[in-house]
């Protein structure tokens, strides 16, 4: 009755207010999100498609793409496992130091990424605490791929856990308990009951985590050492080209990074669209 009434009743001023709000939101989005995104592609293509392709078709660019994908491919699954484990622990168990764990999960959000990078340099760098020992055993972490992975993991650690904890706390453990009493072992309980319950939040957390892993600049910049073709991810490659006054090149690579983000977004939308009915059927409680 309320929905029908509000749909029928609105007087002119109210409808005007509706319209104004929607327009304001759209204008805001256009100004702060779409315009810059469009500018990236416009700048990249300013000297024509040929120059654009030439800027991309360089070993540096390909290496950067490969490295970015590699770092994300290692950091995201590890954070997925950690995020689920941490969310499970926080949501399902009472233990000493639970508040501390919650605070630690948030640490990467509150600490500047640059500091995170510096900490790894301090720990594993040539003059760092473990540097000499690592060097003696022929292990390179800082200014090499392992350092990039570590820094990225640090920065992206909270995404999955933070997405899952409130959901798992709200859902409670009753369904898992029911599964146990019905004879399920731990794995069956997790894969048949827990995972289906959290899969959308998990997917969302992983997508956010992935987006950040591919786009991270600060922490990665500190531990990278900027060795072109070896330790430059896409964001670092962009910065280097920009600093070399290669604007078309910088924006061309930037457009690649933006494209990766758009692909991620499209994947999420497609999944939501594909399973939209199912989402709607299960969203309201279900018990």
């Amino acid at each position: 009755m309320t929905a029908a009434a509000t749909a029928r009743a609105p007087a002119w001023p109210r409808r005007l207010a509706h319209l104004a709000l929607v327009l304001a939101a759209l204008a805001f989005l256009a100004l702060f999100l779409l315009l810059p995104l469009a500018a990236v592609f416009a700048e990249a293509l300013r000297k024509g498609v040929h120059a654009y392709l030439a800027a991309i078709d360089q070993p540096g660019a390909f290496a950067a793409i490969r490295l970015t994908l590699l770092v994300a491919a290692i950091a995201v699954p590890l954070n997925l496992v950690f995020g689920v484990a941490a969310a499970w622990a926080v949501a399902r168990f009472e233990f000493r130091g639970k508040a501390l764990l919650g605070a630690l999960i948030d640490l990467p959000f509150s600490v500047s990424p640059v500091i995170a990078g510096l900490v790894y340099v301090l720990l594993f760098g040539a003059q760092g605490w473990f540097g000499p020992w690592l060097a003696a055993h022929g292990v390179r972490i800082v200014f090499a791929v392992p350092g990039l992975v570590l820094a990225t993991m640090f920065v992206t650690l909270p995404f999955v856990a933070r997405e899952l904890i409130p959901l798992m706390q709200a859902q409670g453990a009753e369904e898992e308990e029911a599964a146990r009493v019905l004879g399920a072992n731990g794995w069956q309980m997790f894969f048949r009951v827990t995972l289906p319950k959290i899969r959308w939040a998990l997917l969302y957390g992983v997508l956010l985590c992935n987006a950040r892993a591919m786009g991270e600049f600060g922490a990665v910049s500190v531990v990278s050492g900027h060795i072109r073709g070896l330790t430059t991810t896409l964001p670092l490659e962009i910065e280097m080209r920009y600093n070399e006054y290669d604007y078309v090149g910088a924006f061309a690579v930037a457009s690649l990074l933006a494209l990766l983000a758009l692909v991620t977004l499209a994947a999420k939308t497609a999944l939501e669209w594909r399973y939209g009915d199912e989402l709607a059927a299960h969203a309201p409680g279900g018990h």
Binding site: E174, E175, E177, A178, A179, R180, V181, L182, G183, A184, N185, Q188, R192, V193, P196, K197, A281, H282, P284, G285, G286, H287
Partner: protein
């Protein structure tokens, strides 16, 4: 398979959920754990299900240690208060869950699982709803899916946590009768938790009344109601009038009324008489012991009418129940003055060192 629970204790932080609880559950029995919230009844149920563990005590099944068996191997059917159905699975998949998670040697064939699910859905009167999701069912239907799911694993013990707590009154009564019939059909040992005394009295073979982590009394519904062992049981089960007695002229009594005898032989200076509303006689003759009262309210509740009676001598309001057809016959209406007296009372001594006393009037106390 007799289940022997012996000296179970369970503490949460500084709160004793179970405090030295012992109890035997006979095969095929329908047992109610009745108590207010926080009395430990759900904790006891969870311990039986294997979802919680006692700090001390043992549970033995035919002499074997039941607590050493993990939850998944206990063959216990548990129905949660809020059902805990798997929301991402259909009704049929929910019911089949317990069979599908078995190791493959023990797992029935696909067709056999389907047949059993179908039979169970029929048993709980949900045939044809197997492809629905829990969110598309009513509360009573979800409840029965939860029951079918629990029965699918052919449990030796069925546990129900507030099975009717989340349902509306009509569905609740219907489902209650249905559950009782189902129990008679299956003969399955069943333990259910409830805070609703009516439910416990109507359904169970035996009722264990719990309070603050202890069992106050365990017995048949009639015994627990008619012959309560403690003041708590008196007050928790059914309605009751609480009348303080003191020594008057060498005899325990209240405002001129006395039970006439003293089982403690003067050993108690004070006591409390608990009188059920249906045990208060109305229209007592003037030469008999009793109290002058005035009808304050008459609440007609279907077949029974509840009366509120002001008794000035006791400075309290007593409750009395009469059959509603007697209302007109006795001319009971607000404002009417009449004499009342207990016909039956359970009397507890105030001090220690005395047993409770079930008092019955010597002769029919006139009138009603």
């Amino acid at each position: 398979m007799t289940l022997e629970l012996s000296r179970l204790s369970r503490r949460f932080a500084d709160f004793a959920a179970l405090d030295d609880v012992s109890l035997d559950i006979a095969p095929g029995e329908f047992l109610a754990l009745l108590g207010p919230s926080g009395s430990g009844k759900t904790t006891l149920l969870r311990i039986l299900a294997g979802l919680d563990h006692p700090d001390a005590g043992s549970v033995r099944l035919d002499g074997r240690d039941f607590l050493a068996t993990p939850a998944r191997s206990r063959k216990v059917g548990l129905v949660f208060q809020h059902y805990a159905l798997f929301r991402h699975l259909t009704v049929a998949e929910n019911v089949a869950f317990g069979l599908r998670v078995r190791p493959w040697r023990a797992r029935p064939k696909r067709a056999e699982i389907a047949a059993r699910v179908e039979a169970l859905l029929q048993r709980v009167q949900l045939e044809g709803l197997g492809r629905r999701y829990p969110a598309q069912l009513s509360g009573g239907q979800r409840q029965r899916v939860a029951l079918a799911r629990a029965l699918a694993v052919e449990p030796g013990l069925l546990l129900l946590d507030e099975p009717f707590g989340a349902l509306d009154a009509q569905v609740r009564v219907a489902l209650r009768r249905w559950l009782r019939e189902l129990h008679e059909d299956l003969g399955l040992t069943t333990v259910f938790v409830t805070h609703d005394q009516e439910e416990a009295l109507e359904l169970a073979d035996r009722v264990a009344v719990m309070n603050r982590g202890r069992i106050e009394q365990i017995g048949a519904p009639g015994t627990v109601y008619q012959d309560p062992a403690t003041p708590f049981v008196c007050e928790f089960i059914g309605k009751v009038n609480r009348i303080p007695l003191a020594r008057e002229d060498g005899m325990l009594g209240a405002a001129g009324w006395t039970p006439g005898r003293d089982p403690w032989r003067g050993g108690q200076a004070r006591a409390t008489a608990y009188v059920r509303p249906e045990h208060l006689a109305l229209g007592v003759a003037g030469d008999r012991p009793g109290w002058q009262a005035q009808v304050r309210h008459v609440y007609l509740a279907g077949s029974v009418a509840h009366l509120e009676l002001d008794v000035q001598a006791l400075a309290q309001t007593l409750e009395a129940d009469v059959a509603s057809e007697d209302l007109a016959r006795l001319g009971l209406r607000p404002g009417l003055g009449l004499r009342v007296a207990p016909r039956r009372a359970v009397v507890f001594p105030a001090g220690s060192g005395g047993d409770r006393w079930v008092w019955q009037a010597d002769e029919a106390v006139v009138a009603v």
